[in-house]
């Protein structure tokens, strides 16, 4: 039963991979993996390929990023006092990590409150100058939600475990999360810095029934582009080739000499052609 739910979750995560742009900063072929613990109230251990990798992992915290060679990793999440990975509370799940990609594996609640895990692919393509990327992921035990920025819905009908990605002018957004079709905040409003050239990933996590919905934030920097020049002068008043500068006159004279020579050469060629 649990495996089925997990498989569904992973499949949904895998679907999200489609359409993700090629990575801008692939690091020597490794995949980057972060892990977010978004199951309220339980401290857990994370096992990768049956080896304890994160000990006493607290809810609302982020582990990594880990640089991992491409491949498939088995991840199991156990109670924090487990002796090994044999009795996981989530998983084991197989995470297929591709070279140069950036992932976040999230342990969270499904919409119905069942613990599950979803592997998200993070968009690390280059961001246009002046813009920030805001990724919103619904990993909470809650129905479909809208995300409001400054009171206006910018994402509607987002369901667990889906994500939506926005390109926004860089700046601070007053964000809140409401049940879809409503504006009464379930989370927030909170100031989210959609920083320029950064993928700011906001997770709505927790449980509506348990009244502990919250936002978690992950940031991936270094996706910016730069101005292509600084043209910082338009008058030539301090130019080293000012017309009244002897150097400039000498250059001008040289050009004139070359022109005269060229004209003479053309004339000679034409005479020869006629002959």
């Amino acid at each position: 039963m649990r495996t089925t739910i997990l498989a569904t979750g992973i499949a949904a995560g895998a679907l999200l991979i489609i359409g993700a742009a090629a990575p801008a900063n692939a690091a020597e072929g490794d995949a980057q993996l972060s892990v977010l613990h978004a199951v309220p109230d339980v401290t857990v251990d994370v096992y990768v390929n049956d080896e304890l990798t994160i000990d006493d992992f607290e809810p609302g915290s982020m582990g990594g990023p880990l640089a991992l060679p491409a491949g498939t990793y088995s991840v199991a999440i156990t109670a924090s006092d487990a002796a090994d990975a044999s009795s996981p509370v989530i998983g084991p799940v197989d995470l297929a990590l591709e070279s140069g990609m950036n992932y976040t594996a999230v342990a969270h609640l499904g919409e119905d409150g069942t613990p599950t895990a979803t592997l998200f692919t993070n968009d690390i393509s280059t961001i246009a100058a002046g813009e920030g990327r805001l990724t919103v992921r619904h990993v909470a035990a809650a129905p479909a939600v809208d995300v409001l920025a400054g009171g206006t819905a910018v994402i509607t009908g987002l369901t667990n475990p889906d994500e939506e990605i926005l390109a926004l002018p860089a700046g601070v957004v007053s964000a809140s999360v409401a049940a879809t079709g409503t504006t009464d905040p379930l989370i927030g409003p909170a100031d989210v810095n959609v920083a320029e050239g950064v993928n700011t990933i906001a997770y709505a996590w927790g449980s509506l029934d348990d009244d502990n919905l919250a936002l978690a934030v992950q940031t991936i920097e270094g996706l910016h582009s730069s101005p292509d020049s600084i043209p910082a002068g338009s008058a030539g008043l301090v130019a080293t080739n000012k017309p009244f500068d002897a150097t400039g006159i000498w250059v001008g004279a040289s050009v004139l000499t070359l022109l005269v020579a060229a004209v003479a050469a053309v004339a000679v060629t034409r005479v020869k052609a006629r002959a």
Partner: protein, 212 residues
Amino acid sequence: MVLVAALTCVLPLVGCGAPMASGPAVSAPTVTASPSATPSAVPPTAAVTVPVAGAGLDQQIPIAVAPVRIRIPAIGVDMSVQPEGLADTGAMALPPDPADAAWYRYGSWPGSAGGATVIAAHVDSLDYDIGPLARLPEVVAGTEMIVTTEEGREISYLVQAEGMVRKTDVDWPAVFDRSGPPRLTIVTCGGEFDYDRRTYLENVVVTALPQG
């Protein structure tokens, strides 16, 4: 002993959390059967240290603190600084008056954890005449530059020996680099002028590091 051996094996599997340029090659991932150790009363401890941090709103990228004034006493520069982004052309936007400097508001800032704080100004203008940064090529290694932030903090920088460049072919992503040590980069124009395109052919780029 069995347990110790198993934990040691995990090292090459998960690598190191910090990006490393060199180090032991990481083996291809394999799913190994966990040795069914005899039930132990003591839970295992992680064999590698994975960096773990909070993921609350307090972990966001900090809001930039803008510079508002730049002084280079040795060459008589004392300019106001205003935040600017991009011009329509894709170049960094600059105030029209060469007496006013611009800070690239999307990059690093004075006091930020790292990267280049870029401040630039026109060297001249037909409407406003020659600007203070016309004297920028006069700075030498050790010349002091003082930036005042909008919070009133003053940060002193010293020009570096290899921090003065005048060239036509500037590596702009390097100028606007947001990583590496905190530094101040002042940019204006200079050198020869193209009278047809009304633009200088070279940029003057001066880099300084925080003092002390």
